[in-house]
Structures are given as structure tokens and as C-alpha cells.
């Protein structure tokens, strides 16, 4: 009897890592999160409210801040639906058709992730700027893209393109197309197949991709900074407004705007974990 319990504890011990390792790793991970994630978040909020509620509210109520918020929402409002549709199309093309250059397309979808956002912004300046390839044509027709809202939308569109497609491609690959073929063989039209068979199967992954896409669309700094021109009240998005305010020593204004972006990030995280939980079910 004793011998048996003894060997059992022995095996247990043999299978376990030593306590110092376990607690050491946990402490490192937690410490890192506290230092680099929670502490900055706390600083953003405390700085935003450093001069009290009224200062916080009035900083956000400034016309420039409101204009920046409006522009950020407008950009997201245009880019997120567009990239949702484009992402579904790209995922569909890649997982359902065989064509030459398919692997190249798959790689290219990730390009916006691998290129520095500043370079992405510069590409648009080189294309549509006054000295750019198409710049003359656009200025002849009195269309402003760079240092204007269309440029910001284009840059954001480029940066956030991969999110939806990247969520969908692995899922749709794993699902295969048999259910869709079955729907067609039962007489369904292409739209019926998509909305009744494909969409219900991919909806959680799609929502997840849309959420990430939205978070990035609202938070993008680098590419937008290059094409925006920082015109107050006109081409400043919320992240740009944070920088401008900070550079002008308007700390409450900067951190108040930053707190809105941080709040958005937290909401995104909560929704994301809810979606992950639903997907797991």
C-alpha cells in the first residue's frame, strides 16, 4: 500500500516541473503585462483625468477633437464594409477556385502586414501626390487625394485589407466546398448557397475579422500620418490628433483622445473573446 502511494507521488513529481520554474514563468509573464500593458493604460487614463472631469470633457468637446473623431468614424465606416466584401471575395477566390498565380495572391494578401505603414503611405503620395504618377491628372480635374480625406481612406483601406481574408481563408479551406456543392445540387442559386450555407458557417470568423479590421482602421497612425498633411479640423484622425495635441503640450487633450482609442481597444478585446468563446462552442 505504502509502496504504491510512494510510486504514485514519484511519478507525479517526475511529470511536474519544479515549483520555482512554474512560479518564475508566471511572475515574468504577469510582470510583463503589468509593466507594458496595464501601467501605460493606467497612465493614459490618469493623465486624461489629471485636471478633473470638466477638463476631460472640454478637451474632447474641442472642435478639432470632434472633427478628428468624426473623420476617424467616417474612415472606419467606409473602409470596414469595403474590406469585408473584398476579404470575402479574396477568401472565396483562393479557397474555391484553381487558377494560376493563386499562391502569389495568397502571399500578396499579407503584404500590407509586412510593409512598414510609413512606406504604404508613401506609395500613395508617390501615386497621387502633386509630383506623383497620376498627380497631374487629378489636379487637372480638381480632385484632391493626398492631404485630403480620400487619401486617408485609401491608406486605411490598404492597411486593413488582410484582416478579414486572413481569418476566412484557413477556415474555408478546412471546411471544403462539399456542403456548398450539396446546396447547389439541391437546386439552390448561388446567392441562396452563400447566404444559407456559407455565411452561417463562417459568420463568427467573419465577425472576428471585421472587428480586428475596425480596430486597426480607427487606430492606424503611420500610413495615415504620411498622407494626411495634419490639417487641423480637416485631415486629422484621432491618432493624429493625439500626437498633435501632445506636441503642443496639451496633455489633457492628448490623453483624453488617447483614452477613447484605448477604450475602443478594450471593447474590441472583450468582443473578441466573446467571439472566440462562441467559435469554440
Amino acid at each position: 500500500m505504502n509502496a504504491v502511494t510512494h510510486t504514485q507521488t514519484m511519478t507525479k513529481r517526475a511529470l511536474h516541473d519544479p515549483a520555482w520554474l512554474k512560479w518564475g514563468l508566471i511572475a515574468t509573464a504577469l510582470g510583463f503585462i503589468l509593466l507594458f500593458l496595464c501601467l501605460p493604460l493606467w497612465i493614459v487614463i490618469s493623465e486624461a483625468f489629471a485636471k478633473g472631469w470638466t477638463a476631460y470633457i472640454s478637451a474632447l468637446a474641442q472642435p478639432d477633437a470632434l472633427a478628428a473623431l468624426r473623420l476617424t468614424l467616417l474612415t472606419a465606416f467606409i473602409t470596414v464594409p469595403l474590406n469585408t466584401v473584398l476579404g470575402v471575395c479574396a477568401a472565396w477566390a483562393i479557397t474555391r477556385f484553381e487558377f494560376k498565380g493563386k499562391s502569389l495572391l495568397t502571399t500578396l494578401i499579407d503584404l500590407p502586414f509586412s510593409v512598414s505603414p510609413v512606406i504604404s503611405g508613401l506609395i500613395f503620395v508617390l501615386m497621387f501626390g502633386a509630383q506623383g504618377w497620376f498627380g497631374h491628372w487629378f489636379s487637372d480635374h480638381d480632385i484632391k487625394i493626398i492631404f485630403a480625406v480620400p487619401g486617408i481612406v485609401l491608406a486605411t483601406l490598404f492597411i486593413t485589407f488582410p484582416f478579414v481574408a486572413r481569418e476566412l481563408i484557413p477556415l474555408m479551406q478546412e471546411m471544403g466546398s462539399e456542403e456548398e456543392e450539396a446546396a447547389l445540387s439541391l437546386g439552390a442559386s448561388g446567392w441562396q448557397m452563400f447566404f444559407q450555407i456559407t455565411l452561417p458557417n463562417i459568420k463568427w470568423a467573419l465577425l472576428y475579422g471585421v472587428l480586428l479590421c475596425n480596430a486597426r482602421a480607427m487606430g492606424e497612425f503611420g500610413a495615415v500620418s504620411v498622407v494626411s498633411g495634419h490639417i487641423r479640423g480637416l485631415t486629422n484622425t484621432l491618432p493624429l490628433h493625439v500626437e498633435v495635441s501632445y506636441n503642443e503640450y496639451d496633455f489633457v487633450g492628448a490623453f483624453a483622445s488617447a483614452s477613447i482609442l484605448a477604450g475602443l481597444a478594450i471593447v474590441t478585446l472583450v468582443l473578441k473573446s466573446i467571439l472566440e468563446w462562441r467559435q469554440g462552442k
Binding site: 456542403e179 450539396a182 447547389l184 445540387s185 439541391l186 439552390a188 442559386s189 452561417p200
Partner: protein, 347 residues
Amino acid sequence: MSIILSNITKNFGQFAALNNIDLEIPEGELVALLGPSGCGKTTLLRIIAGLEQADSGRVVLNGEDKTEQHVSHRGIGFVFQHYALFRHMTVFDNIAFGLRVKPKQHRPSEADIAKKVHALLNLVQLDWLHDRFPDQLSGGQRQRIALARALAVEPEVLLLDEPFGALDASVRKDLRQWLRNLHHELNVTSIFVTHDQEEAMEVASQVVVLNQGRIEQQGAPSDIYDHPANAFVSRFIGQTNIFAPDDHDAIWLHSSGLPIADKSGKTAHVRPHDIEVQKADDSAAAHAVLKDWQHLGALIRVELVKNAAQGEQATVYAEMPNEQFRRLDLQRGDKVNLRIRNAHWFH
């Protein structure tokens, strides 16, 4: 509904999946497309369904050329190898799907749909599962639900891709019989794909043997077994002993009673039950030595080794009823004489 395929050719890149297939299937048959994996049988089924487009050739269903028609308008029911049940729908909704996606003017009322779905569920004997989801069903149950779903739209042709491929051996046996009976009941022209010759012989009224994108033979199961058209079919269907009457085997075959006079360059295909085994008295001139035997239910398969003195050493299989084997009273190592009753000769 009759099916006529003419000149169907399909290439995947360099690989020729189907080569000039001509096939005619009369109404009401239950046809097996039989062949080794990679022979093009599933591709052919998908071309009939319209899930795949042939490079050339025509698909004519019931006298109507449907080559250019979309899969949703061909009036076919397709049962997929892995069932492809809609995982987010209940069994009931799965079967109702084909009725609910009909254009408004042809769509039955919800009450009629419910009536029809329950009738189909009763037909496949699974009405008690109507509110389950596909992942709560066993393989055999999924198979039958997939069949009910395909039948809901009253297809004129039923196409089944490896219908028993993913099932346990015992479930497979039951379902084969069940499919046969169901076909008798509904009499809808059906084609199923299989690589299992036993399954094809047992279930189908017509068997089409495919190999490397070509049709090797088409006929009733007994036809194909008794009169194989060529060496491939003979080897693929059932067990066969193959002898080449060159200088080694000639004497051996001759003394086993097989006339080989005008057969040079050909090989003899002999079914195991066409070989008669007798105990040899004269041990020096015996044809073979008994190596081992296996019980196959009512039959015994004996494994014989050809006598080296009379030809090349190789294993020969013979089959006989249990009773006969007992009467022969053979032991391992006993010398036996053989008599070959029948052979098919192929180049």
C-alpha cells in the same frame, strides 16, 4: 430517366482523368461505377451531376442535352462521400432545404414541406432524429439522412459517391441491402461509385468497370464475373490465377487438362473454383503440394505450390466446398493433382 454520355473527355493539367467515355444507362437501373482509385470514376459521376465540366463530350439525361446546364437545374440528387450535411441545420432543415430554396411559384407550403420531410424520414427509418444536428448522428445515420435530403427534390437521377466508403464493415453490409431494397421501391435511375468489387457485384444491376479513364466493360454482375472482357477485368473482379503457357508452364498446364495448343503469347486466367483438387497417388508426377488453407465460410480456399519439377514454382489458389475438402482429408505437405475445368485467355 435514361443517361447517355458520349465522348466524355476530361484532363486535369497533364493528367487524363477520362478518355472518350461512351456510356448508356437505361431507365431504372442501379449502376455501379467500379474501378481502382484514380481511375476517374468520381470525376465521371461529378460530370454527370454538373459539379465538374467535361473538356469535351455530351451529357444527355432523358433525351435532353444537359451538358451546358448548371448543377442546380439538372434534376439530379447527389450523395457525397462524406455526406456534406449542413452542419448548422437540424436533420429536418437539412432535408427541407431543397424544397425551401425552390422559386416561390413552385415552393410547397411549410405544412406540405413538413409532411414530405417526415415521409422521407420514415422512409429512411430515422424520423425520431428529426431535431438532431448532423454531428450528433452516427455515420450510417448521416448516410441515410444525406440520401433522404437528395430524394426530397424528387431527382430523376440519384448519384452516390462511394456511399459506403466511410462506414464500419457491419453497417456497410446492412446499408448495401437497404439501398438495394430502396431502389426496388423507388425505381429511380441510380449510379454509385465504388472501388469495392464485392459491393458492386452485390448491390448493382449493372456494373461499369473503369480503368485509367476508360471503360473496360459494362454488363450485369454475373456477365462480368463469368465473361470478363479483358485481363484487367478478370484480375480486378474476384480472384484469379494467372498462367503463362510458355516453356515453363506448358507441360504443367497440359497435364492439368488445359488445352494450350493455339494459345502462344496469351495468358490463362483461371478462377479458383474452376480448379479441381485430387489427392495424388503417384507422388513423383504430382502437380502441386498443399501449403495451407483458409476458411471462407461455406468455401475453403487452399493454397498450393506448383511442383518445381514440372514448371516454375508459384502459388495457385483453388476453392471448394467445406464438405468436399473434408472428404479429401488433406494435410499440409500432401501432394495433389489438379484439373483445370475452365480458363479465360487474354493477350
